[in-house]
Symmetry: C2
Subunit: 351 residues, 2 copies
DNA sequence: ATGAAAGCGCTAACAG
DNA sequence: CTGTTAGCGCTTTCAT
């Protein structure tokens, strides 16, 4: 069906070796021959099989990418960065998503290894304790994590703790004293932990009491009554919410609006991720921003350096590469008077 | 480095054929042998090379996916659908993005063909006149388009013309008479054309004058003065905008807000795509919704049917599969009194 | 400058 | 039930 190098050789009247050379090292073959061969290649619409090549040579120029989901633009943004560089440098991407499911993670890694990918770029729930990553280490398969917050493994991320700390300090600077952190239900992730740590530190430093993260079901249409109760009831109801990611922040805002709360008048909102889309919201979402696309690019570059560089196993740069974060003030944060947080917050012009 | 079937054979003391059988047809080998072989496989951490397999067998179980960009969630949503089914059915995805660049499209197709993908799922700017697709037809490489609106090629989409028609009718039903369509600058796409057609039909049918689509730069931070002039100036300024996609709608809304226009009070907005995220906006974005995820799923199923089914070249179902669209009323549309469109619109409770 | 031949990792006849 | 062998499409010595 599909023509092979043999067909070309026969058509051109040369050996397959010559055809191979004509393709891979044109200068080593007689110009006239070269021309003939090329004509045959065109005539047959021949396309060298990557399979055959890869089997022969060592390099597959294939990189595996494993992401939790594409429903969250954070990962789509990272992937954009990766894809851009991959395309430039002649590498192919094999993509698999896991929905944070360990079984699917295992399966993805397995599949990708069977395809002899030269390396892996991935995001997992919790990197430190992930057995599959230990396995990769043992097997010597190169990988770089994105977003995972760990010093034990090759990774690219922001300083989640510090970033969250600064974000919450900003809330405090705006006069908020009762601040709650919200997280998704599956949020046993390393970065969610770090973000909560930063939240807690900022609170304590201001002499405020940090609370455990409140879990919110991402997919529910409405906020659950119990969550809503937490957010609205009496005495020391929170005036600001720190959401562990932007998508969650958006879901929460919708829930609050449906419950007739106004943002930021009745509740200030701070997200995390810095989704490009957040800026398009009304009001623009305040967020602790990670450079998602750049994280993807950096992960790619680190991986490629190791893949091509070869042997500098460690001792090079630190395992964890930390990229700078930034604060997007947005307009979902209102300053409030410090007088009395139990009454509905008042709008301040300073916001 | 990586162990091969030979290593396993040597380690187990059997031939490579037996090892191969132990893997692919366990029931055909002696249980004791099987056990030994499996032990060796584990001991060596052997993983059969997909390369070797593919080279031998006909099937690569590899599908290429070519998307314009992942920055627009429309495509990420489609990809989710594809990926879900691919994972279930044991296929691998090779992903490439093009940024609507023809050269990159060519390159992506080329690369994917070299990898002997069994089929292609893709979205291009304009399917009807796309020379590369003709080439695919000629070469007999199976493909299915997503979102492209054409009857000439295998595709899955909504009826863009009809959907847009209904959307604009909805605007008209809300009392709007001066309605403008906005499109992205690179919007020479087949679906943008169909959507404009639907817009024009709805307008004409209501005795209103359709205007050419107004081009808006997607990436600019602010709306250009000339665009803004179109939207706000005097006599018959539009009271509603039909945006050719949701992302554009969001950008436009930001621009309008910066220009101190209120939505929907001063301007009603209707998007197209039905991004999941649109529901999270405030106000929730009215949109003509395509079932993006399902489009991905359907494209996958059609492709796989052809890939595995084999020979029913045509005569089966029609080339273009049209999935049902829906209207999401959202809250970016206000009803206006029909009296006098030249004065600022008034809020109506009916919205 | 070109060709013959080996071999990459694997599967599939075909023998035994 | 197991082994031998050929060959998938290609690159790469090694001769010529």
């Amino acid at each position: 069906m599909t023509p092979t190098i043999k067909d070309v050789a026969a058509h051109a009247g040369f050996s397959i070796a010559t055809v191979s050379r004509a393709i891979n090292a044109p200068h080593t073959v007689n110009p006239v021959t070269l021309d003939t061969v090329r004509r045959s290649i065109d005539a047959l619409d021949f396309r060298p099989s990557a399979l055959g090549r890869q089997l022969r040579g060592e390099r597959t120029r294939l990189i595996g990418v494993i992401l939790p989901t594409l429903a969250n633009p954070v990962f789509a943004e990272c992937l954009q960065g990766i894809d851009e560089l991959a395309a430039t440098q002649g590498y192919r991407l094999m993509l698999m998503t896991t929905q944070y499911d360990t079984e699917r993670e295992r399966h993805a890694i397995e599949t990708l290894r069977e395809h002899r990918v030269e390396g892996l770029i991935l995001t997992v729930a919790d990197a430190d304790t992930h057995p599959l990553l230990d396995e990769l280490d043992r097997a010597g398969l190169l990988y770089v994590l994105m977003h995972n917050d760990t010093v034990r493994r090759p990774s690219v991320s922001v300083d989640n703790r510090l970033a969250a700390y600064e974000g919450v300090r900003m809330l405090i600077a705006h006069g908020h004293r009762s601040i709650l952190m919200l997280a998704g239900t599956l949020a046993a992730s390393d970065r969610a932990r770090q973000r909560h740590l930063g939240y807690a530190q900022a609170m304590q430093q201001a002499g405020l009491a940090p609370a455990p993260a409140l879990e919110v079901d991402f997919n529910a249409d409405e906020l659950s009554p119990s969550v809503l109760a937490h957010l609205t009831r009496g005495a020391n109801r929170p005036t600001a919410l720190f959401c562990s990611n932007d998508l969650l922040a958006m879901v929460v805002m919708r829930g609050l609006r449906r419950a007739r709360l106004q943002i930021p008048h009745d509740m200030s909102i701070l997200g995390f991720d810095g989704l490009a889309m957040g800026e398009l919201l009304s009001p623009p979402l305040a967020s602790v921003c990670a450079p998602n696309r750049e994280i993807g690019c950096a992960a790619w570059q680190r991986l490629l350096a190791r893949v091509t560089g070869g042997y500098e196993t460690f001792s090079e740069t630190p395992l964890a590469l930390t990229l700078p974060h930034s604060l997007r003030e947005g307009a979902t944060i209102a300053a409030i008077s410090n007088r009395n947080e139990t009454t509905p917050a008042r709008i301040s012009v300073r916001a």
